[in-house]
Symmetry: D2
Subunit: 277 residues, 4 copies
């Protein structure tokens, strides 16, 4: 049996020794191993992939026993994770995930695509993925989200909710309901532009680079822990619609990259940051 | 004689025709030619490199005659431009320019390096460039800048003032005294961080990319027209000092790139943007 | 009426003047204009987008009349181009084009997908694009290609044939039948690796970057004029299958970028090079 | 005392346990830790930074005792390494290292610059670094190298020889004399071009990207284990001299990056590859 072991502890001397001696005791073979210590916050992170004959609970308990109090231990058996995609009207980020899924590149079951419009239904249906339209029209934000939460909770074991260009702001209630489970993609600029139509503002400033950031969603809009980022060059000949169009190419690549990191259990979140192995 | 011809006009039908027919009439050979029309602002930009036997004034006047009112025409004879470098304590951006200058890569005379500290004097002196320390200590910002302005104005025909990590904020008076002549480099992030120690803030957010922006300085601090930008990857293992150190590699490359564009007269500035040919 | 005007001539004085005076005479508005002179080969390239009331033939003839002998003039009315996609077993490059097409991002009709296997048929059928399997089994290369050529020639006005990971070598006969119409994508490395399994070889050398090159296909395998290139970082922890997987992300982005340049008539080919406006 | 511990062993179960238990036994604090197992070659690599009261020999012996036969253990006390720079006529790569050294960014003593020309002497002298001209004129390759080897061997404890655009081919004798100590930078292209003037060839092919590769030098010219690589974009408007000039910016950045990795003892070499922590 192969397991991914993720350990998140307050740093102290001997942690690697304690973990590795336990792996040795249980005759587990280490296939890969990554560690990181954040000295400022005195936090220790470790991700090991091990192989051997022990069950998940036993390994978890054995680790908890030797490690300091308040250590978080996750022993994960690699298998397809359950994800829900949310989208609004754009196809690029959603389509990139659906094609990767179709090609067998993603270790995931796509349970459904949820949208506030029915626009993408014909497209999503091609892939035999359930498409659920939950219109926001005539509803207060809270009511609308309640309906979405209800639909999501109707599925069992949802691991991640991927906002593949879902263009509505989420309330704290929604975010808290799925803590560290919601991954969003948004355009990014240097410098940043706040307010309406950032692409128009970026054009007006004549930026030479535009980017995209994939991040976990927390209560501060577009401010959660960053998972992946990338950029492309633009120039004066790109009007803001060109920038937006080109920006899509970065958005989809960065979101898919973040999704894969999540599916492979490579991300630790702490404070407002990520450690990625 | 070779000239760079830069034209900045309100767009109307026939501009390229008018310019190129005049080049043809004066038997000028077009070595290169770039045009751009910004439809939103209805502005036309053209940069031609031409070769032939006509003098600068004659060509300028001939162009002004055929082109619409309020057209700006610059006919520039390629030659070394006069630049002044300003720095504070860091060597990397300054050093990159000095080495390029030494290697003969820059079409520029470096008139002087001005700094508010004498720290870099031994380094700059190696290159036989005058180093002028103008300490800000005990002076109000206005007084300090007056002294710098006086020194700069003591030189003839200063084309550009390059802020190679000059770490003091410039007042509107200073900026206006050298409009579209001051080029600055500053670190950039996606998202942007405002306030003290942006590298520390960027680290706290766990950014995966850091960048640098070279721009003309106008009255809005760090908000002038962007000339060049670039980024490098960082990860959780880089603490904020690592980020700062790695950021220097981008800063120096981007500033030198912007300087070269300026020395080759490739930059148009309008509104708060640049067109770069 | 809007036209794209592409001119490819031996360079001589007055070409821009001649073209722009003709545009002016016919009251055509220049929406954008790009020129390039390759001094070494003395070649002049110009791409203009003009708007006005003249028909295609008239404009072509008028241009040919004023321009030097042997000038190639193309006056193109922007409209959807007809493309055929060819693939073998992989979905990523094909899927990227199909999703962009579905989203309306490509100015193209996809006439068909041709493959030497039927593997991708279920996927392509989702998009209501004809899928034509032409198996190579039991056929000599020449026979197999004859069948493909026949199928392609059964369509009218095929503008481009896009090899979206079509993994068979084309013979000179095939290539000559569709000169400057076939665009291929292939992985690229620094340094290059010749022979079987280049990803394995790249891994063995420990490359830190892998790339992709989109190019027109000519008789020298993988050696045609380059249209677009890009790279991504890899490291020692990526085995050659990881590299191959990550390489796909670059391949699909670069192929789609090249396709768009072709659809917008932005590419000139000469000698073994491209000029791209 | 802080040490960098580098272990290179045949992989077997329990290696991390054995090493970390020994660190624990000697009360050493692990400041950072990286491991990598190359499954194909069954090789295990580990780099730890530890802090504690034990001397170098004792720690080395203790490690060798618990680890399998044929394990290579290096316990390194971080201190300035001794490097010799070799150059020919170009200043950019050399200058970048000299400025970083001057700024105190490099953990290195530059013992000397050796060149086959005296051209760069005035430049290097500014930095108070000995400049040794060893002309190759009138000498056979072997004689010339003997003189260089003699000079190098006149210095004690040379850790690295950095070829900062040293443009002469080294013989196997020279390379073997300084195994895994010589780092070179050379331009790289996708695809690669063999023979005279690769920039000219790259121009002729119309490449859109040019790169640089820093690598250890072994007997196969330009074929040693790769340490670092990077690229920049070029286009049809860059002639081959422009490409060469722009290429310098990548060369210097990549060489300095490789040098820093070497100075920090982050590189393992095996087979013809590197593992870089």
């Amino acid at each position: 049996m192969t397991y991914r072991v993720l350990i998140d502890a307050n740093d102290e001397k001997g942690l690697v020794y304690k973990v590795s001696s336990l792996f040795f005791k249980y005759d587990l073979n280490i296939l890969s191993n990554s560690e990181f210590v954040d000295k400022e916050s005195n936090k220790f992170f470790m991700r090991s992939v091990v192989d051997g004959a022990i069950d998940k609970e036993e390994l978890t308990n054995a680790l908890l026993e030797v490690l300091p109090k308040n250590t978080a231990v996750r022993v994960i058996e690699p298998k397809k994770k359950n994800i829900i995609l949310m989208a609004t009207k754009e196809m690029h980020a959603l389509g990139d995930i659906l094609v990767r899924h179709e090609e067998g590149e993603l270790d995931a079951n796509i349970l459904a695509v949820i949208s506030n419009y029915n626009l993408l239904e014909p497209f999503v249906s091609k892939f035999n993925i359930p498409y659920i339209t939950i219109s926001h029209e005539g509803l207060e934000r809270g009511e609308h989200e309640s309906k979405i939460i209800e639909v999501i909770n109707g599925f069992e074991d949802v691991d991640y909710i991927i906002l593949a260009k879902y263009m509505r702001i989420l309330t704290p209630r929604f975010v808290e309901a799925f803590e560290e489970k919601i991954i969003n993609i948004h355009h990014s600029f240097l410098p940043a532009f706040i307010g309406a139509n950032p692409y128009k503002q970026a054009y007006d400033r004549g930026v030479k680079i535009i980017g995209a950031t994939a991040h976990f969603v927390n209560n501060n809009l577009d401010e959660g822990p960053i998972i992946a980022q990338d950029v492309i060059d633009v120039n004066h000949a790109h009007n803001w619609k060109d920038m937006q169009r080109n920006g899509r190419d970065v958005e989809k690549v960065v979101l898919s990259r973040a999704l894969k990191l999540a599916l492979e259990d490579r991300i630790f979140v702490y404070a407002n940051r990520t450690v990625i192995f």
